[in-house]
């Protein structure tokens, strides 16, 4: 005791003689709020300090009479102030925001905790709502790739475009990042999230950032933080609104064969008798209009002159013009958003109402209402109660039938199809049956009109999707002793999807069903499918509960500070689906009973069952997790962090050991610029970080045991249930794991003119599910999914922010540049067939050691045969036309030409912002490089059998010598599907996919401080999806829209809008 007293005495003595004390407070000049964690440095010394939560800093032991203090804070301009000592009064310092229009987000949110950006070791990217709002539209996530670092939208694969963070982490598992809204994964439809309620978005890129989310974090995590009310704020209102007009899609992008070429081919094939079989068939298969005319001419129903006049008339048509004129319209989207917030000393609130009404190119209407209220109540310091309710209601109605919705045969049609006559009156098109058959029934009263009018059918065949979603949450945050906080969160989500598809009695679908099954007995029709409409309903109900208990610890002991959390959470998600179909539906809700179990005679021939269209489903996912995370900071210089998480789930049949797989991470950071020896004045902020850790990826569809699934339909023989194998016994199945090393450096030059981060990562995916081609003598499949592969990928993420000009005229740039390359490092497959690697529609998983995960391979091309115009390949090194063997077993994988990755290996975005006085102008560019795509071309077999042509037809080889300027093979009859398969898979159709795209332009004018009541009023103009400004391929194909079939580039849109604050 004595000793302690003595020490205190000594210390007091020291301080009595002391040297001066400096006290001050730092606030933001933007809203005068205190700034935490501002670095304060005494020039010429090694003394550093940090502001606390209230913005207050303190220095003791200053031995000078004049000192210069330097204030540095991320996102703010550095400031130097010279003061005389001793101080008369507390120093008040106000820092100005460095990049006003791009307001930085200086905290990151993991969904478990919110931490200052300076106090993390992991890799985070944040996107502020200002940056996000440079784009418009009712959808939030589609805005991210053009502004967020390391993010990409992959269009190369079947299905919806896929957001990816840092490239691939899995091969066959789910690739979607985990989406968190505030505290919990969001289970509902992502379209429910109104972009206006978003405060900011944090993207968790490395293992240390995401491993806290455990088994589902392998693909990265996106945390959406919504706006919250704040205490002690006067009531303020916010109103935004915009009107977005989108152009019609460019149908000329579709590589359609010309009508003249098509008709000439049809005439030639008709003369060869190619259609005779169909023309004579009792099944009345569908016949094209030209063939119908030719047949009418041959059977003298029309004169040769009439036939040729009509056919010549058709040659000038292009169905794309018809669609453009009669079907597509500019889209019109309106968005309104009203927000209000305020707060007293104990209570704060925020509330908003959003209305969206989008009318798309085909007249499809999407309407959304969002209502949100969030309250925080602080009865006393240390206890926070908050509740939030977010309610969404939306409705989607179908529109007109577009280019991809109309079909004569096999989802395609002839290029001279006519939707309307010269007066614009709707015409019927042939569909499903020969026109001879349809016309022959015109006078038969037993049959309903069997014609299909694509221009009007949509009015009778309507789809409505109604959705209601309610997200309610409650949280308690209670401060215990010793720096401990107890936090409880509960969230409930329920979503109702009520979808209906009514094909009314005038719709083609209903009439076709009725006619197909009508039976005429002595002239008396019996309607097996009753007259009336067909109503399909599909309802889905989703319920999810999330509950979490968490202890937070945050305490500093002198130079040591520790922030830690630990907790448990439970998650349960159930969804039910019900699908029903009603025949004979009328407006007064009567329906009819139909016999589904009997095979009925059908028209024009054969017999069939009536489709029952009923099914039920029920799925439930459950998770039980434990997690902990701690960060230790020494003197604001060195930091160490660690996290661990274990997940258990009910996913069927996984071994218990695997259910409780732990995921963990470690990280360190060294703030070099805070070291006393650090003297690099032009670089006042320098931080080194590195992390290492694991996260996982699970596919709910993966099951380790033999399971069977019941069919919705009962056996036609005995009415008993029927089942099939849905999974095969696979005891080895494990969760995929993703291991990631991340090394990063954050820097900021003087005056924040230049700041950014550079990160390197190395990812290793283990136990990845992969397709193993199997000897299908086993009877289950030609391929099976197993944990067979390991992949690794590495890359660089560079994020730079520069202020190029900082006067009255300002020019700032954000550059996101990422390099990512992946390769397979192990794939436990012994041998495989080359043809599986040349998939025309989707680049297949390569599965070859050292090759990119998704790669473009092609058959080697040996040019066209100068004598015949046939495509030539190689077999055993020799030029060959043995197509059966080239596309069969004659080609080995090593014989294929490997071009490279099918997904971009270099990509990013650049946003330039210019401002002068009240005017701001933003330009958003995005780019993708270092990958390949396969272009579509003509397939002669498909042309004849499914009518699907391609504009390359006109460039086909026709005479010797043509091979000099074309690679399109001759149209040779008879067709050979393997020859077409070879050409479509050959290297001559592979193109470099590199491109640069102008994503958006935005011009805004701010009416600042116009009146006392209006804090800010902004008028803006925006142009979006402007298109490619450069592409490597010379055929003006957009590589993001190059898949087979017809996907069209997103049309340009133009917006005018206001944002205001009162």
């Amino acid at each position: 005791m004595k000793i302690i007293l003595l020490i205190i005495a000594c210390l007091s003595t020291v301080s009595l003689f002391a040297q001066e004390l400096i006290i001050g407070k730092v606030v933001s000049d933007f809203d005068k709020s205190p700034l935490e964690n501002v670095t304060v440095h005494v020039e010429g010394t090694s003394l550093n300090s940090k502001t606390n939560k209230d913005g207050v800093f303190k220095f003791q032991n200053i031995e000078a009479s004049i000192v210069t203090l330097e204030f540095r804070h991320l996102g703010y301009k550095s400031l130097k102030i010279t003061i005389d000592l001793p101080q008369n009064e507390s120093l008040n310092v106000s820092l100005s925001v460095a990049a006003e229009s791009l307001a930085e987000v200086d905290v990151v949110s993991t969904g478990y905790q919110t931490v200052s950006k300076e106090r993390v070791t992991g890799s985070f990217t944040t996107v502020s709502n200002e940056l996000l709002n440079q784009q418009v539209g009712s959808d939030l996530l589609s805005r991210l790739p053009s502004v967020a670092n390391s993010m990409i939208m992959d269009n190369a694969h079947v299905g919806a475009p896929q957001l990816m963070i840092r490239g691939l982490s899995t091969i066959r598992g789910p690739k979607a990042p985990l989406i968190i809204v505030d505290n919990f994964p969001y289970d509902g439809e992502l379209m429910n999230i109104n972009p206006n309620i978003v405060e900011n978005i944090t993207i968790l890129k490395d293992a240390s950032a995401s491993s806290i989310w455990g088994a589902r974090a392998g693909n990265g995590v996106i945390v959406i933080t919504t706006k919250k009310g704040e205490l002690n704020r006067p009531v303020s209102l916010e109103f935004t609104s915009n009107l977005q007009i989108g152009t019609k899609p460019n149908l000329n992008y579709i590589e359609q064969m010309s009508a003249a070429d098509y008709i000439d081919l049809e005439k030639e094939m008709f003369a060869q008798g190619f259609y005779d079989n169909d023309l004579n068939s009792i099944n009345y298969p569908v016949i094209s209009p030209v063939i119908d005319l030719l047949e009418k001419g041959r059977s003298n129903l029309l004169t040769d002159q009439e036939v040729s006049d009509k056919i010549e008339g058709l040659k000038n048509l292009d169905v794309r013009d018809q669609f453009d004129r009669y079907v597509y319209r500019p889209s019109v989207n309106q968005q309104y958003f009203l927000g209000a917030n305020g707060g007293g000393s104990k209570f704060s609130w925020i509330s908003s109402l959003g209305l969206d009404r989008d009318k798309a190119n085909l007249g499809e209407i999407y309407q959304r209402v969002n209502f949100r209220i969030q309250n925080t109540y602080q009865p006393f310091d240390g206890l926070n109660l908050s509740t939030a309710v977010y309610f969404t209601q939306s409705k989607k109605n179908s529109g007109r039938l577009g280019y991809h919705d109309v079909s004569m045969k096999s989802n395609t049609f002839v290029p001279y199809m006519q939707l309307a006559d010269q007066n614009g009156d709707p015409l019927w098109i042939i569909k499903d049956y020969s026109p001879r058959y349809i016309e022959s029934l015109e006078s038969n009263d037993a049959f309903l009109d069997w014609k299909y009018y694509p221009l009007t059918d949509w009015q009778h065949d309507t789809e409505e999707k109604k959705l209601s979603n309610i997200l309610a949450s409650f949280s308690v945050d209670y401060r215990l002793l010793f720096g401990l906080n107890l936090k409880l969160n509960y969230q409930y989500e329920k979503q109702w999807d009520v979808n209906s598809n009514l094909s009314d009695e005038n719709s083609y679908f209903a009439r076709d069903n009725i006619n197909r099954f009508v039976q005429i007995d002595d002239g008396v029709p019996e309607y097996i499918v009753p007259k009336g409409g067909v109503l399909n309903t599909f309802n889905r109900f989703l319920d999810s509960h999330n509950i979490r208990g968490q202890l937070n610890f945050d305490k500093a002991y002198g130079k040591h500070s520790i922030v830690a959390i630990a907790g448990v959470e439970m998650r349960s998600n159930t969804s039910n689906g019900q699908q029903m179909r009603y025949y004979g539906y009328t407006n007064n809700l009567t329906t009819a009973v139909v016999d589904y179990q009997t095979r009925h005679p059908a028209n024009p021939s054969g017999s069939a069952y009536i489709s029952a269209g009923q099914s039920l489903s029920e799925n439930s996912t459950r998770f039980l997790s434990q997690f902990a995370n701690a960060a230790y900071d020494y003197d604001n210089r060195l930091m160490v962090s660690a996290s661990i998480r274990r997940d258990g789930s009910n996913l069927f049949g996984l071994k218990t050991n695997d259910q409780w797989n732990p995921f963990w991470s470690l990280g360190t950071a060294w703030k070099l610029s805070n070291e006393s020896f650090y003297q690099v004045h032009f670089l006042p902020y320098l931080n080194l970080r590195s992390t290492y850790g694991f996260s996982g990826n699970i596919d709910p569809a993966m099951v380790a045991v033999n399971t069977i699934s019941y069919l919705g339909q009962k056996s036609f023989y005995n009415g008993e249930p029927m089942a099939y194998f849905s999974n095969y016994y696979n005891p080895e199945l494990k969760w995929e794991t993703s291991k990631m090393l991340n090394i990063g450096i954050d820097f900021q030059f003087n005056n924040s003119r230049f700041s950014g981060s550079i990160e390197y990562y190395h990812k290793e995916g283990k136990n990845l599910f992969g397709v193993v081609p199997m000897d299908y003598t086993n009877g289950i499949s030609t391929a099976a999914l197993r944990n067979v592969a390991n992949m690794e990928s590495h890359g660089w993420d560079i994020e730079l922010k520069t202020v190029n000009v900082d006067r009255e005229f300002k020019w700032q740039t954000i550059l996101n540049f990422s390099l990512n390359s992946d390769e397979i490092i192990a794939y436990n497959i012994e041998r495989s067939l080359a043809q599986q690697y040349v998939d025309i529609n989707t680049p297949p998983v390569s599965g070859i050691k050292g090759h990119p995960v998704y790669a473009i391979y092609a058959y080697k091309w040996a040019g066209l045969d100068p004598l015949t115009g046939e495509a030539q390949g190689y077999l055993d090194g020799e030029v060959s036309k043995d197509y059966n063997n080239i596309v069969g077993v004659g080609t080995k994988i090593e014989d294929l030409e490997l071009f490279g990755s099918a997904i971009p290996t270099k990509f990013g975005s650049m946003i330039n912002s210019f401002s002068y006085k009240n005017i701001t102008f933003n330009v958003g560019l995005s780019f993708k490089f270092g990958y390949w795509f396969r272009r579509n071309s003509i397939n002669y077999t498909n042309l004849l059998t499914t009518w699907r042509g391609h504009s390359d037809y006109q460039d086909r080889w026709q005479h010797s010598g043509d091979e000099v300027f074309t690679n399109v093979p001759v149209n040779q009859y008879t067709t050979n599907s393997n020859r077409d398969m070879f050409y479509n898979g050959s290297s001559v159709l592979v193109e470099k996919a590199d491109h640069i795209r102008l994503q958006y332009l935005r011009l805004a004018y701010d009416f600042k401080n116009e009146t006392k009541h209006i804090k800010n009023f902004q008028l803006f103009l925006n142009a979006q999806n402007i298109g490619l400004i450069w592409a490597a391929n010379k055929r003006s194909r957009d590589p993001d829209f190059s898949r087979s079939g017809h996907n069209l580039p997103v049309p340009k849109s133009f917006t005018v809008g206001v944002r205001s604050k009162f």
């Binding site: 459950r622 056996s715 005995n718 089942a723 099939y724 009859y973 008879t974």
Partner: protein, 439 residues
Amino acid sequence: MSCEKFLDERSDKKLSIPVTLEEFKALINNSNYINSDFIAAGEVSSDDYYLSDQVYNALQFEGEKRLYTWQSDNVTRPFGMMGDEWYNCYQAIYFCNSIIHGIEENGLSGPDADNLKGQALTLRAARFLDGLQVWSKAYNSQTADSDLGMVLRVDPDINQMSTRSSVQETYDLIIRDLSEAVGLLYENSPVQSLPGKDAAYGLLARAHLYMGDYENALQYTNKALSLTKAKVIDFNELDPSLTYPIPVENVVSREIVLTTTMYAATQLRVAYALITPELYSLYEDADLRKVIYFGDNGDGTYRFRGMHSGNSSKPSALTISELLLIRAECSVRLGMLEDGAEAINSLMENRWKAGEFVPYQFLDTESALEVVLQERRRELVMRGLRWVDIKRLNRDGHNIVLRRRVNGESYELLPNDLRYAIAIPETVIELSNIEQNPR
């Protein structure tokens, strides 16, 4: 709630691990796998039909054209395009193996479990017998021990290596399984999609007939006939104006003992497959099959419409008429001419216009056999049976030469050509390393 319980909830209510009898029954009831996609390649290669050049030229897949013209390799649709018949065959075998294995593994017992096991054994044997006729040479007792047979999968373990057995071993397994099944099955099945004892005996008769063991074939066909509830339909009662005149009751016609349906090969589509004039000319005008089986296309060609399914799908099913024809053939071959005549006549009475049929009376084996074989051909059209008949008759010296003409080119398949054992899909050869048929 304990953690284990919380995590025990089934993730998908439609999923279950099969352990109960009901679950295994649901698998065998799945006619999409169990009764469908018997091999069509043999019928496609047979001589009862032909394709016009137009249809041939419009065939979408090169493999389809090659199969039609008896090429020695690449006669399957491309990998992944549906219609790999090797896969179809072994997929059904996997179902059967899983059921047999599941019954044993879960200790299921009692008459219902035995019957189910018998059904799975019978259906598995039916698949092996089906595959053997397409991918192997006709049975020849001299070479059966070395001729390549089927890959004998009798266990659901998917990691087994594949090796081809001999033709003899395949027949041995088929006979062993069917004999075991006979002891387990109920006498008849209430539905034609699943076998009873009658079907197992019928398949034993088929197998022995193909092997040339006429005594056993006769014995088994007699047993099948004594048990079966299938009835011969009198064609006099049918309405030839219907698209498919043969009536069905509960999905298929009452002549069917066990429903099996061929894969819907493009070449065999009703509108495409034209009946060869040679076959059509075999029918007398008073033979009702001439109008019931064949539809007039109006241009001098005929299509086949005598399906026992009421629609365009083509059963390769065991029928009572086939059993009667086996009885007739075996009786004649064994010198029991009267029995043979009786069997044939009992069928023909139902096929000819009432009162017009003059019953056969057999005087010598040779001419009787000729009649019986010709009646067999007339009766069993588009049943997947013609191919094996050609093979076994050529083995016995009948010297049937198959000929086709396509786009002005002639194709010929001489008796006992190696191509009578159709090429196994090259992809499965590549993936499994099993031996391809000698070419």
